[in-house]
Symmetry: none
Subunit: 256 residues, 2 copies
DNA sequence: GTTCAAATCAACAAAAATCAACAAATGATA
DNA sequence: TATCATTTGTTGATTTTTGTTGATTTGAAC
């Protein structure tokens, strides 16, 4: 039906649809080509109506994503995209992983759409539906009753599914990172889920953007499980020195 | 029907379909042959329409530009939107309903985003994540293991969740509508699920666009449960006379 | 309206991919 | 084994794409 015009078409459309709007520069950097190439390649796509061109950016035509969720996706967007790219680069075709809920995880899921043969367990309906539709993937949705603000589940069946899994990676996030108190969140069920997820994975990847190192307005008080030897912390800016020392001491790699 | 033109045809097609877009070089390295061979072999494949050639790469005709599910979303789009509007207009704030998977259901879910306090049960991760994020809704995702082309579940837990539900409406779809054979689909698990869903709902709404009254290229052969008194059939164009008579006789309302 | 920075466009040379032709390799058959 | 048809890799000419440059346009602020 819609015949592609270049080898970049697919990736560009995917990224545009996922991010809603992308600047030409972001895209060219992300894909390692020049701005001009992006412009050239997107012109026929725009004529066909596969995306919209505005001055300075590309806008998705099917941005039917949910506004409230999307707005959280735009908070600290560049950082989250950068982190998602780093995390995604660690996951190879055929890998198995658990992903939790949250906006960073949503970005990671989007970035993982060009991996193949993934085995995925998640308690986020958004992550699940994003990755389930990729041919060849094997996706399990953990849980039945969905929480309303992010469509994630923390019911008994969610824990059962996660506990029965055995995967290579566990991708987690947190609301705050404190040099002494570790990684903190607001809800007890999230802590419990994080424990279950980490127990079912060989190694964990904790994804937190740099803003999480700053004091928060709404202080999270519940402690996520600590990272262990071999785990990885992914951020967009280098964490404070106190943090780095503690992590290095535990043999936890920091990537960005 | 499609006779292979070379011993590589099959593997190339498989890889292209799997990866969506793949450069000629990647493919030649992966398969241990020269670029030129890949080009030679893929030429007849492209002419036959089994894949698309662009400068520098091969693009799958299937999962290429848009994943199969989204491409179906654009097939007969206006009709499906019209139907979705009609169905959505029957659902009021506070109602409870079961929704199945499929592109029409996806549209219905989108339309239901301005309803409040809905209780929803669905086996589609896409529908679930769409409606779960609306504040005040109560959404249950039925099933764990997700099917890859549409992210829906038909495993044992999916049936359990559906069977335990008790809702007002059940929103269903079908691949074909036949005046004598009723509503048909391709997969047995879909029939089973339809039975379970209808059993758990007071009344059913069957949503089929007018194209479903025409003969299909890929003939579905499995029969959905029949509609009963009080159920509703929603279409975009009036169904054929033979159909209308049969439905009226059973006291099934036709809306559009 | 004017100004200015940023984004876009047009054009060109360099790089990359494609094509056609040919020779070597392969494999089946007599 | 010799022969023939087919397939494969290589080579060089041709085509397409890509990044760069500089001119032009755009959008926002004044």
């Amino acid at each position: 039906m819609t015949t592609p015009t270049s080898k970049y078409s697919e990736e560009i459309l995917r990224r545009v649809d996922m991010m809603g709007t992308v600047t030409v520069q972001e895209l060219s950097q992300l894909m390692g080509v020049s701005d001009q190439t992006i412009r050239r390649v997107t012109r026929p796509l725009a004529e066909r109506g596969a995306l919209n061109k505005v001055h300075g950016a590309l806008v998705s035509t099917k941005s039917a994503l949910d506004p409230p969720f999307l707005s959280r996706m735009t908070l600290n967007r560049e950082a989250k995209i950068a982190i998602a790219n780093t995390v995604a680069s660690m996951i190879k075709d055929g890998d198995s992983l658990i992903i939790d809920t949250g906006s960073t995880s949503a970005f990671i899921a989007q970035m993982l759409r060009d991996r193949r043969e993934l085995t995925v367990v998640t308690n986020s309906a958004f992550v699940a539906s994003t990755l389930a539709m990729i041919p060849g993937n094997n996706v399990s949705m953990a849980g039945t009753q969905l929480r309303d603000h992010d469509g994630a589940s923390f019911d008994r069946s969610a824990f059962q599914v996660v506990e029965r899994a055995k995967v290579e990676y566990c991708v987690l996030s947190a609301s705050m990172a404190h040099p002494e108190n570790g990684f903190l969140v607001h809800e007890q069920c999230e802590v419990d889920m994080a424990f279950a997820m980490m127990d079912s994975a060989a190694r964990s990847i904790m994804a937190v953007d740099a803003s999480k190192f700053q004091p928060q307005s709404r202080k999270p008080a519940l402690r996520q499980p600590d990272l262990k030897k071999g785990d990885i912390l992914v951020t967009d800016l280098d964490p404070p020195e106190t943090f780095r020392a503690a992590l290095a001491h535990l043999d936890i790699r920091v990537a960005r």
